[in-house]
Amino acid sequence: MNKAIKIPLRILLYLFLLIMLVFALFPVVYILLSSFKTNSEILVGGTNIIPTTWRLENYVEAWNLANFGTLTMNSVFYTFFVVIGCIITGTVAGYVFSRGKSVFTRIMYRMVLFSMFISIGTLALYPQLRVARVIGVSGTLWGPILIRVLGMNATQVFIATGNVDQIPRELDEAARIDGCGFFSTFVRIIFPLLKPLVATIGLLAFRIAWSDYLLPYVFTISKRATWTLVVGLVNLKSGGESASSWNLMFAGIGISILPMTLVYLILNKFFIAGLTEGAVKG
């Protein structure tokens, strides 16, 4: 191809990529910038993207007055236990499914595989709530935590099993000879080798828990004090309380998406790898 065509073509290409860049980033940038606007500026609307007056107090007020402090702490609590729990159950399940020999293990693996085909998604929420009532964890975040941690998320199980499969079995045998049992082989030999898997499962669990909406919503509908950030935010919108305090809602959205965005920007390689790997294996 000659250069006369090539240069305009390249400009066109970059233009297209830039348009898609704006498409991808605009909503996030717009909402973050708007979270510093005054309430009246938001109410009037207009094409202004950058605030005319910067109002940092939005965040202080949202945190103290609009209850976002409590909501955030609940989200942190929920996310913390889901991440820690998923790392433990994920790696253990991966290890048992990869190395286990019992009939029980094989049956469970089949069932997890099979559950992917007959998943009813959000429609399982009501029966799950019934179970939680029986165990005595409805109305708290412990219900959603138990479901996320012990529910054997198929994606997580397959990523974990695939990862443990790649560790040479000679290591297990060596540990056996040194007197390690099935459990202590996992704790002393296998788990320390699973750092990348821990990172992947941790990030996936972090994303799920921090973003979760319907599961915590259904479990804590009537218990405002245990709402997470996302639940509180959506309620603010549909509850009709927003008109008087758009600025606080915007700040709330900021509080909700900033941690995720920052973690993603720092660890984007792991994020992208984890999310895609999850789907390919699952």
Binding site: L13, Y14, F16, L17, M20, L21, A24, L25, P27, V28, Y30, I42, V44, G45, T47, I49, T89, V92, V96, G100, K101, S102, F104, T105, M108, M111, S115, F117, I118, I120, T122, L123, A124, L125, Y126, P127, Q128, V131, I135, L146, L150, G151, M152, G181, F182, F183, W210, Y213, L214, V230, L233, V234, K237, S238, I253, I257, T261, Y264, T276, A279
Partner: protein, 302 residues
């Protein structure tokens, strides 16, 4: 020696036990629960009455709204696929060729995929608000419209926004799948082709497309199933408004299980269970059909 093996097995079962109990309680039991109550008239207040096939008869003969929600879901899924697949493939092609700032583009395009769908719905409903939304303001400033468009209050407009938002949340992820697929294609194939005189477009259709076929299948299936399971976005963005016309399968059934939003429907667990069973069967059939088809396609290729 034999005793040691037995101890290992006990440890193995004990390690898996907590998750197995969780799996039975939170994954298996709900499925059994739904299958059981599908045959009952059960609203949570009065005593359940066994009514046989009645719930299914009702779904198939007297509930056009359910089939409407299914049609909506399929419409969203198909339109989304038709836009998303070419877009993701094109972006992946561009970003794997010699482009400056390729990483910047990749990281930016993927950002929407990590955000909470519910919060994303919130952000877009603010942007598309009919009275102070920035999209209306911009369209007006550019002179495209004189009066604000009611984006979420009218059916056709609402579908446009729903598809746009779900596209926004997933195009980056799908692009990454294609990039992964492209990386598995040997580079010398392109060199041979260009020596033989094939231009870029011919190379794309004769080398790239056939060789990323497995990835293409994966993306189609994930995108399709993802749309069938879509719930949060619709609840936050339109909640079925106006008048239930943008309801999708999951939100429609969800509202028979739980009261949500302003709609004061009374919960009907029995009927909801029957609808859940029907949907689960549809989902399973789609998945199986899909796996069949893709296996056959693979055989043809080989």
């Amino acid at each position: 020696m034999l005793k040691l093996g037995q101890a290992d097995k006990t440890q193995e079962i004990l390690m898996l036990l907590p998750m197995s109990i969780g799996f039975v309680l939170f994954v298996l039991y709900p499925i059994v629960w739904v299958i059981r109550w599908a045959w009952f008239n059960y609203d949570g207040y009065t005593t359940p009455v066994f009514i046989g096939m009645e719930n299914f008869v009702r779904a198939f003969t007297r509930d056009p709204a359910f089939w409407g929600s299914l049609r909506n879901t399929l419409f969203i899924a198909v339109v989304k696929l038709l836009i998303e697949i070419p877009l993701a493939m094109l972006l992946a092609t561009l970003l794997t060729s010699k482009i400056r700032g390729s990483t910047l583009f990749r990281v930016s395009y993927f950002l929407p995929s990590v955000l909470s769908i519910a919060v994303v719905g919130l952000i877009f409903s603010i942007m598309f608000s009919s009275y102070n939304g920035i999209i209306n303001a911009m369209l007006r400033a550019l002179g495209f419209i004189k009066k604000n468009i009611n984006f979420l209050g009218r059916r056709d407009n609402a579908f446009f926004v729903i598809i746009l938002v779900s596209l926004w949340t997933s195009f980056g992820l799908n692009m990454i799948y294609f990039i992964m697929g492209y990386q598995n294609i040997p580079k010398d194939l392109y060199e041979c082709a260009s020596i033989d005189g094939a231009n870029v477009v011919q190379q794309f259709f004769h080398i790239t497309v056939p060789l990323v076929a497995p990835v293409l299948q994966l993306v189609i299936m994930l995108s399709f199933l993802g749309t069938l399971r879509m719930t949060d976005l619709i609840l936050v963005l339109t909640n079925g408004a106006p008048g239930g016309s943008t309801e999708v399968v999951m939100t429609y059934i969800f509202k028979y299980f739980f009261q949500y939003g302003e709609a004061q429907t009374r919960t009907q667990f029995g009927y909801a269970s029957a609808l859940a069973v029907i949907t689960a069967i549809i989902l399973a059939v789609v998945t199986l059909l899909y796996l069949r088809l893709s296996r056959r396609m693979k055989q043809i290729q080989e």
